[in-house]
């Protein structure tokens, strides 16, 4: 009997001892911070949404590959959850709420496109979760008194202003007529209204330089811009300004070219240098002027390093989408570090005071205004043959060159 008890004891003790040896040496699981984002990975803004996903992933991977994020005395692994809203704003808002209430994310990275960001922005203040976005540039986003919203995109109003500043410079140089007649068409959204307001304000302030001969809005995701373009043609404007998102830019400019139209200066806001646009339009996208939040043509070390890394990982040239989303995630991470805490209000206060140096953005520094919008700027480029761009403004940049103006007549 005793022999059986001794044998049974040994039979149980040996595996127990082995188990203790195996598990006793294992470290405790690494604690996690959960960051969520709702992006348009499909639908009208799918291309741009996927670029944003790339930028966010690159920034978060950097932190995790370096061992995690140091918050106070603890290192955390960042778990990034990205949901697809299909470019639908009602779904966008409900998915952000789902991230907060079901998946209990600690922080939020914003979506892409003003309309989707505007739908999402009601959620962060309700739950006191900091939300940093680089995809919505309409100034209305930051006029609603939300405390937990931070944006890394300079406003569309500023885009309109810098475009008009550049036009004034070229008019002064005699490369565009004085006054220059302007046909401005804009998408019927807060994004477009910001743009046209800036153009109209500058035209009113400088009637000797600018004369608006056409001011028309169009519906987002249009299919036939021929009647609108006919109005542009009939206006005989020297300058054609348009604020459009990528799908509308491709459709509108294709129809512009097919109609054989010509203006001495053409801009579609931030469109033109986008790789998708250049693939869709080919040489038709040459010599367009764009105001960008970032371009791979920038020669500063941070921009060059980012461009090289992106090309290694994705075998493609990055656009501003990837750079801005990368910086947006970096700013959020910096805010969490500065707060030394995962507490929403504490991180929010840290973000309000953050100064991120060595940034990719023009100027090299990210800091926010009291309303949460970045104190930022633009760089203006002109697309050139061979899928290249030339930086044309501000002139203080060492890589800035003269633009080809007036535009060459199409063959």
């Amino acid at each position: 009997m005793m022999r059986w008890v001794r044998s049974g004891g040994v039979a149980l003790a040996v595996p127990a001892l082995l188990l203790a040896l195996v598990t006793g040496g294992q470290p405790a699981a690494v604690p996690e911070i959960s960051i969520g984002s709702v992006l348009p990975l499909s639908g009208a803004f799918g291309s741009s949404g996927n670029y944003f996903k790339q930028g966010y992933s690159m920034a978060i991977d950097d932190v995790n590959n370096a061992g995690g994020l140091q918050v106070g005395a603890q290192k955390y692994h960042i778990n990034l959850t990205i949901l697809d809203d299909g470019s639908d704003f009602t779904r966008s808002r409900s998915l952000v709420e789902k991230l907060v209430t079901d998946q209990h994310v600690n922080f939020l990275l914003g979506g892409y496109d003003t309309s989707l960001v505007e739908a999402q922005e009601v959620v962060p203040d309700q739950y006191q979760i900091p939300y940093v976005e680089g995809g919505g540039a309409a100034s209305d986003i930051f006029k609603r008194g939300y405390k937990y919203i931070f944006g890394t995109l300079a406003t569309i109003y500023d885009m309109g202003t810098i475009t008009m500043d550049y036009l004034a410079f070229e008019i002064g140089n005699g490369r565009l007529p004085k006054p220059s007649t302007i046909a401005v068409v804009w998408e019927n959204t807060d994004h477009g209204k910001d743009y046209v307001n800036a153009v109209v304000d500058e035209a009113k302030a400088h009637p000797d330089l600018f004369q608006i001969v056409l001011n028309q809005s169009f519906q987002l995701n249009g299919t036939d811009f021929s009647p609108l373009l006919q109005q542009v043609k009939a206006s005989n404007a020297a300058v054609f300004l348009s604020d459009a998102h990528l799908p509308d830019f491709i459709t509108m400019h294709r129809q512009y070219l097919q109609a054989g139209m010509y203006n001495q200066f053409i801009t579609y806001g931030a469109r033109g240098p986008d790789q998708k646009g250049r693939q869709a339009l080919g040489p038709g996208a040459d010599y367009l002027v764009a105001a960008l939040w970032w371009t791979p043509a920038l020669k500063d070390p941070a921009s060059q390093l980012f461009t090289e890394r992106y090309m290694r990982e994705y075998h493609a040239i990055p656009d501003w989408f990837q750079a801005l989303s990368f910086e947006t995630a970096r700013v959020l991470v910096r805010g969490i570090q500065d707060a030394g805490s995962l507490n929403g209000p504490a991180v929010r206060d840290a973000l309000a005071k953050v100064v991120l140096r060595n940034s990719l953005l023009p100027g090299g520094v990210i800091r926010f205004q009291p309303n949460g919008q970045v104190i930022g700027s633009y760089v203006m480029v002109q697309t050139t043959p061979g899928n290249t761009v030339r930086i044309i403004w501000p002139k203080k940049l060492p890589e800035a060159r003269d633009a080809t103006l007036p535009l060459p007549h199409p063959q």
Partner: protein, 294 residues
């Protein structure tokens, strides 16, 4: 103010658009006419037509116009199969059943396209994409002219077929009176399958032509679907010839309205016409013309 040249230019553009609208609406009209089913999956097949045309262009360097023609038999078979496997099972159920089924099919087609091709904008650029014809002082886009010409040719062949072939006459008989068609020995089940196949073939064909003019994603086609509804209502829901008239009315109304109002309200023209047509002339222009003749 606009000059006569501006107005004529808009008119030419509207005419070219009318041809495109007609060809993308015919599929919907045929299916509704024969089966009294609103084919909500039409937009999905238009989108698929655009993507298949892209595949032919990328893999075999097949011109998109030829690609659109290749879509005709491919999508006919697709439509036939969809009818045989899915649609005929709900033909005797409430109309909502076929609506939901075809809407679900649209979503499935969209998501399959998303899986295969992703969400990025696709385009087809040919040697003539940006070329234009100079005619009497007007510049006419070559692609739009080609699309109009091809659409006109195909619709003419369709009209001839509807009037001079057994299948065509059987289709028209079933549209006019399904019970009477059955009584005279027409296999209305087979005719319905042909109609669905033909309607789907036209959707794929239209998609191929649209790929010449627009960039596209798996979401492509939805906005055209609403215009197609307006066109078939304007033309007369059960009148195939009326589709051409409806397309012309919509294209001209949209194009000229924008000259005198905000361009952002362009889509409102289609919706307003739909409402007016349903209230004032539910039988469409065809019924209006029939009344005036009698």
């Amino acid at each position: 103010m606009y000059t006569a040249q501006d107005l004529i230019s808009v008119g030419i553009s509207a005419l070219l658009t009318a041809g495109l609208y007609a060809v993308m609406s015919y599929g919907l009209a045929i299916i509704y006419g024969v089966m009294k089913v609103i084919n909500l999956s039409n937009a999905g097949f238009v989108m698929l037509g655009a993507f298949l045309t892209l595949v032919y262009f990328q893999q075999w360097h097949l011109d998109p116009i030829l690609g659109a023609f290749l879509n005709l038999p491919v999508f006919f078979v697709m439509g036939w199969l969809v009818y045989r496997l899915l649609v005929r099972r709900v033909m005797t159920a409430l109309p909502i059943a076929s609506l939901l089924l075809l809407f679900a099919l649209w979503l499935v087609v969209q998501n399959v396209a998303l899986l295969i091709w992703g969400s990025e904008d696709q385009s087809i650029i040919t040697a003539y994409t940006y070329k234009a014809l100079a005619l009497l002082g007007f510049r006419i886009s070559l692609t739009r002219l080609l699309v109009f010409g091809v659409a006109l040719a195909v619709l003419t062949v369709l009209h001839y077929g509807l009037g001079h072939t057994y299948i065509g006459k059987a289709l028209r008989a079933t549209v006019q009176d399904p019970q009477a068609a059955l009584l005279v020995g027409i296999d209305t089940g087979r005719i319905s399958a042909v109609a669905f196949g033909l309607g789907t073939a036209f959707a794929g064909f239209a998609g191929g032509l649209l790929a010449l003019l627009f960039s596209f994603t798996p979401d492509f086609g939805g906005s055209f679907q609403l215009k197609s509804f307006t066109i078939i209502v304007l033309g007369g829901l059960e009148n195939l010839a009326g589709v051409t008239v409806g397309a012309a009315i919509l294209a001209f109304a949209e194009s000229f309205a924008v000259l005198f109002m905000r361009a952002s309200l362009q889509d409102v023209v289609a919706y307003a016409l739909l409402v007016v047509a349903l209230i004032v002339m539910p039988g469409g222009v065809a019924q209006l013309l029939a009344r005036s003749r009698s």
